[in-house]
C-alpha cells in the first residue's frame, strides 16, 4: 500500500516534467533531419510495405485484410519492443540527471513511454486511413481498443519497470532480452494469423501464454474484424500487468537511491 501511495504522489508531482521531457525528446528527434516529422509516418509505412511484400506476396499470406492486419502487428510489436529495449539502458543513459538530482526513477520510464505512445498513435492513425481507403468496415466494437490499449500499456510498463531496475546492475541483460524478444517476435503472429496457421492446441496455448500474441489478437478482433474482445483474457492480463507494475515500482523504490553509486 505504501508503495502505491508513493507512486501516485510521485506521478502527480512529476507529471509536468515527464510530459515536457517527452516533448523535448520528440522535438529533438526531428530538429536535425531533412524530412523532419515525416519520418514518424514514413517509418511505419515502410515497415508495413516490407512485410506485406515479403509475406503477402512471396509467402502468399491469405489472412483477411492482410495490410491492416500487418500494420496492427507492427504497431503493437514496436511499442512493446521499444519499451523493453529502451528500459534496460534508461538509467545509465540518464546518468547526468540521476547522479545530480533526486527524481523517482520510473519518471524516466514514464517520460520515455510517452514518446513511444505518441508513435503508436501515429501508427494507429495511419491504420485508420488505410482501413478507410481499403474499405474495411468500421464497427462500434472498435471502441474496445481503448481498454485493450490500456491493459497493453500497463502490462508493458510492468515488464519495462522490472527490466529497468535490473538493467542498472546486470550489464549484459540487453543481450539476453534481445534473444527473448526475437523469440517472442516470431511467436506473436505479427505477419501471420496464429489461429489459422497453428491449429488446435498450439494456437490455443500460444494465445494464452504469450501476452503480446494475445493482446495483438484482441486489437485485430476489435479493430478489423468487428468482434468483441475476450473479457476474461483481458482481465487476466490486466491482473498480471498490475502485479508486474507493483513489483517493478517496489523494486525501484527500494533501490533507486543506490543507482547513482553504480552508474
Amino acid at each position: 500500500m505504501k508503495n502505491i501511495k508513493l507512486f501516485i504522489k510521485n506521478i502527480k508531482e512529476y507529471s509536468n516534467y515527464a510530459i515536457r521531457s517527452a516533448k523535448a525528446e520528440l522535438k529533438s528527434e526531428i530538429t536535425d533531419s531533412y524530412l523532419n516529422w515525416l519520418w514518424w509516418i514514413i517509418e511505419p509505412l515502410c515497415f508495413m510495405l516490407i512485410y506485406v511484400l515479403v509475406f503477402g506476396y512471396i509467402f502468399k499470406a491469405s489472412e483477411e485484410h492482410f495490410i491492416p492486419f500487418v500494420l496492427i502487428g507492427i504497431t503493437v510489436w514496436e511499442f512493446f519492443n521499444r519499451m523493453v529495449t529502451g528500459s534496460i539502458k534508461l538509467v545509465i543513459q540518464n546518468r547526468e540527471v540521476v547522479s545530480r538530482v533526486y527524481l523517482p526513477k520510473y519518471v524516466l520510464l514514464i517520460a520515455k513511454s510517452y514518446t513511444y505512445l505518441f508513435k503508436l498513435f501515429i501508427s494507429f492513425g495511419i491504420l485508420f486511413v488505410i482501413m478507410f481507403l481499403l474499405k474495411v468496415p468500421f464497427t462500434i466494437n472498435i471502441l474496445y481498443m481503448v481498454p485493450v490499449l490500456t491493459i497493453f500499456y500497463i502490462f508493458s510498463f510492468g515488464v519495462a519497470s522490472i527490466l529497468m531496475h535490473f538493467g542498472v546492475y546486470v550489464q549484459d541483460l540487453g543481450k539476453l532480452t534481445n534473444i527473448v524478444l526475437k523469440f517472442v517476435f516470431y511467436l506473436s503472429g505479427i505477419f501471420y494469423n496464429i489461429n489459422v496457421r497453428l491449429k488446435g492446441k498450439a494456437a490455443f496455448l500460444l494465445l494464452r501464454v504469450n501476452p503480446v500474441a494475445f493482446l495483438m489478437n484482441e486489437f485485430r478482433k476489435v479493430i478489423i474484424y468487428g468482434k468483441l474482445p475476450s473479457f476474461q483474457g483481458l482481465a487476466f492480463w490486466l491482473g498480471i500487468g498490475l502485479v508486474l507494475t507493483y513489483i517493478g515500482i517496489s523494486l525501484i523504490h527500494k533501490n533507486e537511491n543506490s543507482y547513482a553509486k553504480v552508474i
Binding site: Y14, N16, Y17, R20, S21, A24, E25, K27, S28, T31, D32, E96, V97, V98, S99, R100, V101, Y102, L103, Y169, V170, Q171, D172, L173, L176, N257, S258, A260, K261, V262
Partner: protein, 246 residues
C-alpha cells in the same frame, strides 16, 4: 534555542556489493562473489547545522565530501544513520542538469527547473529574471548546442541561482564564464549564500573562499569528521596537515 536545519546522524555510505555484474559472472564465478570489495566512503559522520548558517566542507580528494553532499541531497541512500532536513527544500547546485542540447535555451529553463523540483508556475514567474541574468541576448531562442561553453554555463548558472531553495548545497562551483560574468556570478553566489535564513553547505578546495564565506568549517578525513569549528582554526590546521604530508 536556534532552529536546526540539517542534522546528520552517524552517516555511513559504502559501495559494498553494488558492483556491476553480468549474467555470466553470477552463474559461473561463484567463488568470486564472496570477495566483494567494500569501499566505505563515509564512516560515521555526524553533525548539525543551524538554520541560516554557512558550512564549509574541506578534505583531500576521495575523503567523501561529494558523497556526503549527495547523501544530504537524497541522491545516495545511507547504509546506516540518517539525514534529517526538518522539512526544508533542498537542492544540490548542479549546473545544466537535464539539458537537451538540441532545444532552445528557453525550453531548457523549464526542463531543468522542473527536474530541480520546481513547478511550472514558479518557473514562469522567474523566467524573465533568469533570461536577464544569463544575458545571452538572442541566443536564448537558439538551440543550446550552438552555445559556446561559456554561454552554456552562464545559462546553467542563472537557472540554479535564480530558482532558490531553503538549503543550498554547492560542490566546488563558484564562478563561471568570462571575467565579467565571473564577477557577476560570484557576487550573485555571495548574495544567495548570505540571503536571510538560507542554510548553505559548500564543498571547496579553495580555503580563501571558505574563510570569506563560512560560519563554520567541517573537515572530513577518510570518511570521518576530523575537526569542526571556526573557519580560521579548522582551515589553519587543515593547511598545516596538507603541507606536512607533502
Amino acid at each position: 534555542m536556534k532552529k536546526i536545519a540539517v542534522s546528520v546522524k552517524d552517516l555511513h555510505v559504502s559501495y559494498r556489493g553494488l558492483k556491476k555484474t553480468s549474467i555470466r559472472s553470477t552463474f559461473f564465478n561463484k567463488k568470486n562473489r564472496k570477495k566483494i570489495e567494500v569501499f566505505k566512503a563515509l564512516n560515521g559522520v555526524s553533525f548539525e547545522l543551524e538554520e541560516g548558517k554557512i558550512l564549509g566542507i574541506v578534505g583531500k580528494n576521495g575523503s567523501g565530501k561529494s558523497t556526503l553532499l549527495r547523501a544530504i541531497a537524497g541522491i545516495f541512500s545511507a547504509d546506516e544513520g540518517s539525514v534529517d532536513l526538518h522539512d526544508n527544500s533542498i537542492s544540490l547546485l548542479s549546473i545544466g542538469v537535464g539539458f537537451n542540447k538540441k532545444l532552445t535555451g528557453k525550453e531548457n529553463i523549464y526542463l531543468s527547473g522542473l527536474l530541480l523540483g520546481f513547478t511550472e508556475e514558479e518557473i514562469k514567474t522567474k523566467e524573465k529574471e533568469i533570461i536577464d541574468f544569463a544575458d545571452l541576448g538572442e541566443f536564448i531562442y537558439k538551440p543550446v548546442r550552438t552555445y559556446s561553453s561559456g554561454m552554456y554555463s552562464k545559462l546553467a548558472f542563472a537557472i540554479t541561482a535564480i530558482l532558490e531553495t531553503n538549503i543550498m548545497l554547492i560542490d566546488e562551483v563558484l564562478s563561471v564564464g568570462d571575467v565579467q560574468f565571473r564577477k557577476k556570478s560570484y557576487n550573485k553566489m555571495k548574495e544567495l549564500i548570505f540571503a536571510d535564513g538560507r542554510t548553505v553547505i559548500i564543498v571547496s578546495h579553495t580555503t580563501s573562499t571558505l574563510e570569506e564565506l563560512c560560519d563554520e568549517v567541517l573537515w572530513i578525513h577518510d570518511g570521518k569528521v576530523k575537526l569542526k569549528g571556526k573557519p580560521e582554526k579548522v582551515l589553519k590546521e587543515y593547511e598545516e596537515f596538507m603541507h606536512r604530508k607533502k
